[in-house]
């Protein structure tokens, strides 16, 4: 008899067992290169184990409460299209793909862009159709040897999306990936895996959106690998609005070549425990990366953004701006690492993290890390953490704006630097709605 998920004494043990049981069900597939990578990843996960706060990269983010829980990991859900419609973003047009507990839902999804602009398929289908083609890129960018969660995802991920944009294609309609955790019946964990390959001089906009249904715990461990060929341009938005029982650990690994441009905006509105890793390798001359982030933990929410920009070639440019609004006992972490390699002369790298702390119990930890091994570079970083400006509040009140409205208006304005980066109006409207509700609570 298959044990129910509650019977596992240990989450790690459950995951290792799941891999081995899954492996037994494979036929020829277990011989593929892709599966060999999974095996290595599983070994890495087994050896690394879940990180503790003694690990430098996890100093402020304790995963203990996550790994003490038990989750179903088989991805089942009874969610119907009707029930899903309550989560729809009004007026959203484009390629909208739904994933429920990690699995692609073809019948709920709409792919509208023609195949000569972009090929969009589920990871499961893509592996079946072209295991070597997927294997050529799978786990090639996101390193699993040092990261337990990336290793875990690499070993266990069965579904997600594969997006290929051919050279010179302009994908007119945005692609919106909606990851829904259905935690109405029990605790659910999923391991989505995305692979996005943008060809030479092509352009695409991809959004990842996360929601949770139900009051049980959910855990999303997602890895997205992105590769930009020369002169490619990509807008990438990550939007998180999950419940206070939701755990999210995500790694977005970006590989850029000559003269490619990458724009990222990560907006974390709600979630119990959120860790976002955004790692960018600028492995080409004149490559440019822009990273924006907004997080607003309140209650007991915890949001941790780790960014890493690796300037590997000369004349590359990176610029990041992260902003936080922290209330109640909310905690935030910003860790921004900039790495400039010896060859990467004429690098320009800028980093800024600004926070408003609204409650004496809220905490923000910021850590800029610059490692510069070239001598002809321009790098700057700055972090500020402060309270809402009393002078500004009084000024607004003296014009007739009540205190609460004045406060909301100031915070809203503070968030706009990041929100204005999101060029899909229905998504921006949706975010602004959630933010307004949260600020006026």
């Amino acid at each position: 008899m298959t044990p129910t998920y509650e019977s596992y004494t240990d989450f790690k043990n459950q995951l290792l067992t799941a891999f081995r049981e899954g492996e037994e069900r494979l036929n020829g597939e277990s011989k593929t290169a892709l599966h060999q990578v999974r095996r290595q990843a599983l070994t890495a996960f087994d050896q690394l184990g879940f990180p503790t706060i003694r690990h430098e990269e996890w100093k402020y983010s304790n995963v203990n409460s996550l790994i003490k829980q038990r989750f179903t990991i088989d991805g089942t859900s009874t969610l119907t299209a009707d029930e899903l419609s309550s989560l729809e973003i009004p007026n959203l047009e484009g390629n909208v793909l739904y994933f429920v507990n990690g699995h692609y839902q073809a019948e709920m999804s709409h792919i509208v862009s023609p195949a000569d602009q972009v090929q969009i398929g589920s990871l499961a289908d893509s592996i079946k159709a072209d295991p070597d083609g997927v294997g050529a890129h799978f786990a090639r960018y996101a390193d699993y040897k040092d990261s337990a969660f990336t290793a875990l995802n690499t070993a266990l991920a069965t579904d997600g999306v594969v997006i290929r944009v051919p050279a010179n294609a302009q994908v007119e309609q945005p692609i919106i990936l909606r990851f829904i955790s259905d935690a109405r019946v029990n605790n659910v964990a999923s391991q989505p895996r995305n692979l996005i390959l943008v060809g030479k001089n092509a352009e695409v906009t991809v959004t990842e959106s996360f929601r949770t249904l139900g009051d049980n715990s959910s855990f999303v461990n997602i890895v997205t690998e992105i590769s930009l060929d020369r002169d490619a341009r990509m807008q990438y938005y990550k939007v998180q609005d999950e419940t206070n029982q939701a755990y999210h650990i995500g790694t977005t690994q970006v590989h850029q070549t000559d003269n490619s441009h990458f724009y990222a905006a990560t907006v974390t509105l709600n979630g119990n425990f959120v860790r976002n890793n955004l790692n960018i390798v600028l492995n080409g001359q004149y490559a440019e990366a822009f990273m924006y982030g907004l997080y607003m933990p309140n209650g007991r929410q915890h949001v941790d953004n780790h960014t890493l920009v690796d300037h590997a070639m000369p004349n590359s440019y990176s610029n990041e701006l992260y902003k936080g609004i922290l209330d109640d006992s909310g905690t935030g972490v910003f860790n921004g690492k900039i790495f400039v390699r010896p060859d990467a002369q004429k690098t320009n790298a800028y980093q800024s993290c600004k926070n408003v702390v609204l409650s004496p119990n809220a905490t923000m930890n910021t850590k800029p890390q610059l490692e510069i091994y070239a001598d002809d570079v321009k790098c700057s970083h700055g972090t500020t953490t402060g309270q809402l400006n009393d002078e500004a509040l009084f000024y607004m009140r003296s014009r007739g704006i009540p205190k609460d409205e004045a406060r909301t208006l100031l915070l809203y304005a503070f968030a706009q630097d990041v929100l204005s980066q999101i060029k899909i109006q229905p998504i921006r409207d949706y975010l602004e709605g959630v933010i307004t509700a949260k600020l006026t609570k």
Binding site: A392, F394, M396, S398, G400, A413
Partner: protein, 249 residues
């Protein structure tokens, strides 16, 4: 309209206003002058409701209502406007958006319907001419990166939009060159009417060449120690404040 009697206020441990009396009637312009540290800006701040100051005695009635009992936003809605000596920068909020919010909050307080976009823009165009302010300035973040003159002009523009019963100009002349001063003063003068009153707080007589007051008061050590017609300002300009200090001592 405004009746201040025996007003006392402290900031921290420090007593600033020590029994101040002032009567302002509709249609009047009162100038408050005095040496540095006399309490001029404190008076302006206390009337607007700045929370750094604690009122320890006295009363302020505005149209018969207890002003000291009201939050700053309620005072604004009742018709009090303070033009700041140092207007505050509000990043991310345009003057237009700011004023629209302010006007509609005030209308809500008064039980009036909010202005729609068309009405608001029409009003804005009309008032922009009054203070000779540029549209591009109004779409920028409020006061952010504005020059000293632009900030003060923006204050008067806001005043023109909100049409207060009582305007308090706190050192509006500070940091202005003569041209900017004239534009600001013209704006204030155009808003003068029998229903409205103005209190001009200033260190120098210069501004009063342009905004001619009905009464001049000398504030010294937290009290009004001398009041007179506009000619008093010239006397102060000529003789300084020492003779007042001597007179009081």
């Amino acid at each position: 309209m405004l009746s201040i009697s025996n007003l006392q206020a402290v900031i921290g441990e420090k007593q600033i206003l020590r029994g101040l009396d002032l009567e302002v009637k509709a249609g009047e312009v009162h100038a408050i002058m005095g040496p540095n540290g006399a309490g001029k800006s404190t008076l302006a701040s206390v009337l607007a409701g700045r929370e750094d100051y604690e009122v320890t005695g006295g009363s302020v009635l505005f149209d018969g209502k207890d002003l000291l009992d009201m939050a700053p936003e309620e005072r604004a809605a009742e018709g009090i406007f303070l033009a700041f000596q140092y207007p505050v920068e509000i990043p991310g909020v345009s003057t237009t958006n700011f004023l629209k919010t302010a006007m509609n909050e005030i209308r809500k307080y008064r039980g009036e319907q909010p202005l729609d976009a068309v009405q608001f823009l029409k009003l804005m165009k009309e008032k922009m001419q009054l203070v000779n302010i540029d549209q591009s300035l109004l779409s920028r973040s409020l006061n952010e990166g504005f020059s000293g003159g632009e900030k003060k002009r923006n204050e008067i523009f806001q005043m023109a939009m909100l049409e207060p019963k009582l305007a308090i100009l706190d050192e509006t002349d500070s940091g202005l060159d003569i041209d900017a001063l004239r534009i600001v003063a013209e704006g204030v003068n155009k808003l003068r009417s029998p229903e409205r009153a103005t209190i001009v707080v200033t260190h120098y007589q210069r501004l009063l060449d342009y905004i001619v007051p009905d009464f001049v008061h000398v504030l010294y050590k937290g009290r009004i120690v001398k009041s007179g017609p506009k000619e008093l300002a010239y006397e102060l300009e000529e003789k300084g404040y020492d003779w007042i200090k001597a007179e009081v001592a």
